[in-house]
Amino acid sequence: MTGPHRITAGLLTDAAKAIGFSFDGRTLTGLAGDTLASALLANGVRLVGRSFKYHRPRGVVTVGPDEPCALVDVLTKSGREPNQLATTLELATGLAAESQNRWPSLGFDMFAINDRLSRFLPAGFYYKTFMAPGWAWERLYEPLIRRAAGLGRLQAAISDHAAPAETLHEHTDVLVVGAGTTGLAAAALLGASGLRVLLVDQDVALGGGSLLDARWTSWREAMLATLAKLDSVCCLPRTAVVGAYGHGVFGAVESLAPHRIAASGGLRERMRIIRARRVIFATGSVERLIAFPGNDVPGVMLASAALGYLHRYGVAVAHHPALFLNNDEAYEAAFALADAGVRCAGIIDVRPASKAADRARARGIEVHGNAVVAGVTGRRCVRALQVTDADGRNRRTIAADCLLMSGGYSPASALASQLGAALVWQSAIAAFTPALDSASGYVAGAARGCFGLAAAAQDGASAAVAIARDLGRILRISAPAPDLPVDPQGTSTSAVWEIRGRGKAFVDLQHDVTADDVRLAQREGYEHVEHMKRYTTHGMATDQGRIGGLVGSAVLAAARGVPLSRVGQPHPRPYLQPLSFAALAGMEVREHFKPKRRLPLHQWHESAGATFVPVGVWLRPLVYSKQTGWDPVLKEARAVRHSVGVTDVSTLGKIDVQGADAGRFLDFVYANSMSTLAVGRARYGIMLREDGMMLDDGTVSRFGPEHFLLTTTTANSAAILEHLEFQLQANCPTLDVLLTDVGDQWAQFALAGPRSREVLAAVVSGIDVANEAFPFMATAEANIAGRTGRLFRISFSGELAYELAVPASEAQSVWLAVLEAGKTFDIKPYGLDALNTLRIEKGHVTGAELNGNTSADDLGMQRMLKKQGDFVGRMLSQRSGLSAPDRLQLVGVRPADAARRLRNGAHVTLRETDTASLGYITSSTPTVEREGWVGLALVAGGRARIGQRLFARSVIHGESLPIDIVSAHMLDPENLRVRA
């Protein structure tokens, strides 16, 4: 019977399967199907943790996910997982758990002194203290507070990324949240109508409240059998809806059973994103605590918990329990325990009389009507209770080893609230119920205050009928078959929130918030419920204060002297249950975090020993060497300047533009004119944003009267395509233009260097590549190494250069042909670094200069702007601010001392020690042909400063070196080479 308190067979436990586990190093035995909490209770373990602030002894309070106290660390091979709920943590062989927030041991905890000092540590005490001396907060007080705060310890293990995770995308007609009698009845009806239904419940078994009442077993089993037969219905136990996100979208997390975790390679949870046309919230209700002195002593728990441990796990939470309650439903715990042979020490009912009390007395259970619990004797476990009449008189002591409390039931309305439901006060049940408009969803059963299993089932059926009607289905039957057991006659709840007396009465057990703390907040003016919450941290712990939230509001209302309905309760935010980052992240993490875009020649580059660098989503060859430093880079660059090199520029965005109005459209999106471009010619072009700033640059080539190809920078390719599609569809809707992304279709290589023409001649056929026949900025279709491709005479390097474009699938053969043809000239492939070196020397801009804050004028391109005709950015580029003389303008820079290196990000100043920045260096590189470095910089009034000697200050490197401001066109300003 694994444990002295295991008195009968449980619904979920397998008496045949004993499981060993350990708690605080102590080896214990439970059953398959146990939670850690049920196994501990079965073994008579009451003390399971220390509280957050006062380090008071704490025990198990609930039987499920609302648990505020029974949090433990779980030790796994990959580390230590904090704050696991013992009440939902399923027992697995070898499970090792440790209690939290105690030192040195659970039994004796040094920090428990806080409890004795508690009068000096009221809510918000830290706002008023720890201020002197000035330095002391970070260095003294804060570290102390931080060490004391926090519950579990996270032992981070990098290896945790191995933990698999997955996100499933679900679609359904109706999502039914909660599989109690309400949800089961609704799902069965909806499923029978042929609608797709997703029925989810956070519990390991479907049935909700019907799991705790033997009279409902046959009905429940009949329902589950019906559902299993319906193809259109999918039932997901262990699945908690954690957020409602509107538009019928819900986030849900399925927790896998221990044996499943093993079977699926360590997968722990499964995130499900559910898209539903309609939803039913059949989320039931949550039992409330009562605030009385000592309501946190281990052994004080919810009545529903005792009922749950008995039915689900066959565990009696105590030998001699008493009950303190204000409603009939909670009596069921006493009756069930009595049936199982546990004698009840008495029931303290705040109501003078009730039907349930009569039934109890008829069974020989003593009921103290019109009475309250004024205190608890015992520190580490309940030994006795102080009971008085409701007016505080007639104090007596009742011996008991456990107190089951029930302050009534609050409908679980969080999801409905997230969808905008207003909360309406219902005095009959002393609780708020959500008022949700039917367009957003339906709330049914206990979730809308309709208590009683049969009544709830009926309510679920009605909701199903209404939804089926919304979705155009007519439901004939509206009563869930088979016949429902009859709900017992009941007397209504009478609200009780707090029993005032000496000692701490907690409204939030996990954050150690007492009723006095709430009153203090009110006295200090933090009287709005959101202020009180933030000041006291009430309801902000992992349990979100579900069992005590309304009690705190009630204490606040009493202190303010206003009705509870006016105080309300804090707005519930996602997530209903704490949710692991792994589950939320899904599998698009680490190597899958962002797509890897690979060049058509990626494998060749790899085999050639390239060092790759991530550029946006691309992987690009930086240099064909594993050696760091500039030498290999300069070797590649030198080949281009002196002979010939070839580089892979396939990352350029490439957009095919066709149509009768293609030229007109390009005139509109480019600042310079494109319609005037002759067929067979290419042109450099710049695009502006509507605010007149530079957006992007590239080339435009014309293949035919109605056919253009434009290239964009690598970084902006996607954004430019979207920009053009927007401009075309929003601002030029009548134009006959077709935009097609051909970026992946074409591989493109730049063949650059004085010998490039000779290499080209060897690989192309059917075209005369002589300078006159194929001049600078010419373009043509060509047969390249036997493949149909395109040839451009374009230069980014400043040398005589060509770009060859061929279909990506032909890339390798053409690339190899070029290398072969180049052998005689010692051709070298060059990477991104060399490419950069070359373009910096030439004064060509890239993203470092096109940084979103530069205008065409800043970059010396004002002359390119069309004088005639509209184009994006035209008007606002004329604003005074964009041509102010002190704007940062593009210039070249050279260190006065050729031996010194430049640094990107160094600021330009007038004098060596100036603190006023005149601008900064954007790009720099060692030069290929001469000693020393060159760079590009954006300098205030830069063009007028050409010839001046200024300083490049990199304070973080402790440098300030003299630099000469020169023209950005540092190499071959007359463009002789490219035209050679």
């Binding site: 996100y245 509107g246 538009h247 019928g248 979208v249 994103i273 898209r275 905008g420 509507e690 605010d691 979207e722 599609e725 927007f726 569809q729 929003a730 601002n731 809707p733 005709g869 509209d870 035209r874 008007m875 606002l876 004329q878 604003r879």
Partner: protein, 95 residues
């Protein structure tokens, strides 16, 4: 999460689209002057309520579409092709 009813592709998750701003403003004529373009470029009605807006369905049909969305509740009342003229529901409705 928004589920946007693309007139071409049907209801899709918001991540398939790129928002492109207020669709009720149109670009001034070329000669409208700097002030008109300043207003067009910088001024925003930014309503707390119904909003006619552009979305580009980048992961689907790549069409620019118009959507009538409530900026507080996120309710989408209508969606149409770029050339359709969609009417905004009366102010204050739909909250």
């Amino acid at each position: 999460m928004l589920r946007i009813p693309c007139p071409w592709c049907g209801e899709r998750d918001e991540i398939e689209f790129r928002y492109r701003g207020d669709a009720s403003v149109s670009r001034p004529a070329a000669d409208a002057g700097i002030e008109a373009f300043t207003t067009y470029t910088y001024a925003r009605e930014n309503p707390r309520g119904w909003h006619l807006e552009w979305w580009l369905h980048v992961a689907g049909c790549r069409k620019l579409i118009k959507v009538v969305r409530h900026t507080l509740t996120h309710e989408i009342r209508a969606a149409g092709r770029a050339d359709e003229s969609l009417l905004l529901p009366p102010e204050g409705s739909g909250e």
